[in-house]
Symmetry: none
Subunit: 119 residues, 4 copies
């Protein structure tokens, strides 16, 4: 996994986003063990503190959990994962539609644009 960070957004948020997507896509599966913080940090060329912050936040969301002294794992709660996926999708969709509507575009126009873009 290689991550191109942009400098406008906090790195830890970009990492969170990336791992979230991996989970939603199913690349990381329920119960999978995650690399150690250190390992992760070196792989991403990132400060361990940053890595830790990202994983902590994922833990508070519930997408990963920690087994003391053993490592971090993807949650076994598949419902949660699905819920996350749906949320992610409807979120993106709604804001997308909202933004275009804000420009005064009608739904028909939005559909047209999408047809043009989806090839």
């Amino acid at each position: 996994m290689i991550l191109e960070f942009n400098n406008k957004e906090p790195i830890y948020l970009q990492i969170i986003e990336d791992i979230k997507i991996s989970i939603i896509k199913g690349e990381y599966k329920s119960g999978d063990k995650l690399p150690s913080v250190r390992e992760y940090a070196t792989k991403l060329k990132v400060n361990p503190n940053t890595m830790n912050k990202a994983l902590l936040e994922l833990e508070t969301i519930g997408l990963i959990y920690t087994e003391r002294t053993n490592g971090k794992y993807i949650t076994k709660d598949e419902k949660l994962i699905n819920k996350c996926k749906e949320q992610y999708i409807t979120n993106k969709t709604k804001t997308f539609i909202k933004e275009l509507k804000q420009l005064g575009l009608s739904l028909d126009e939005i559909k047209k644009i999408l047809k043009g873009e989806i090839k």
Copy 2:
């Protein structure tokens, strides 16, 4: 014009975005005079410096220009405005599609989701 600011994004960026949209929508028309910096600032309950920062950035983009000691105006370059509009739309559309594709969704699935959301 009332603007509700969110705390995640810098105020000046939100102002830029808002004015940009007004221009794109045609609420502000080519050659229109903008409210003075101070007036704008009081209306938005923002420090004049902040307001100025936003307007300066819009000027470097080229969407507005300054007449010395006279005020600020919407660009007369309608091509630029149209270009901005198109850019804005295709930008939003492309990232939207990219984000959903990244999740492994096929184009058909994206279409379905949109149909569900567009009511």
Copy 3:
């Protein structure tokens, strides 16, 4: 005479510069009568105060003088005009050379560049 003003520099300075050049070039000759302030102002689409400011400054330099109730004239002091011309030229030349030298260019290099540019 048509003047395209830029918005970065004060208009009155641009006017001064322009009239100065006209005098140096000899378009305005020793003893010539200048248009009235009002006339000038309408021609240049400029506030009369601005026009006045410009002419006043030219008067303090000595390039023009006022005959009470009669109008403004180009100085009859041709020496002054010549001095101005020389000053203008050596000024521009010296700063030009200084700026390029500052970049670390040798005199030979500057000569080359000039040969390339002068066609």
Copy 4:
């Protein structure tokens, strides 16, 4: 590095110009880390905000870039630097020639003047 500011031009513009020249000359090299905003500000006896304004503008030009929380660096895009250098030189040269031509001087006369001035 000591900078003598003149009062005619905004300080932040003079700073921009100075840093630009340092980059063009190669005193600051591709990828070099710049002093921190605060450090720079104290060195130049300028308010940090002013310093920041200058650096921001250099960033929009692309000559420097920011690494979040880490510092600012000279661009690694050496082509851009070269382009800037050329632009700077031809710009200065062209306006110089234009200004003298505007006075009615022939190219031969300009050459003579330069020979006189270049010693």
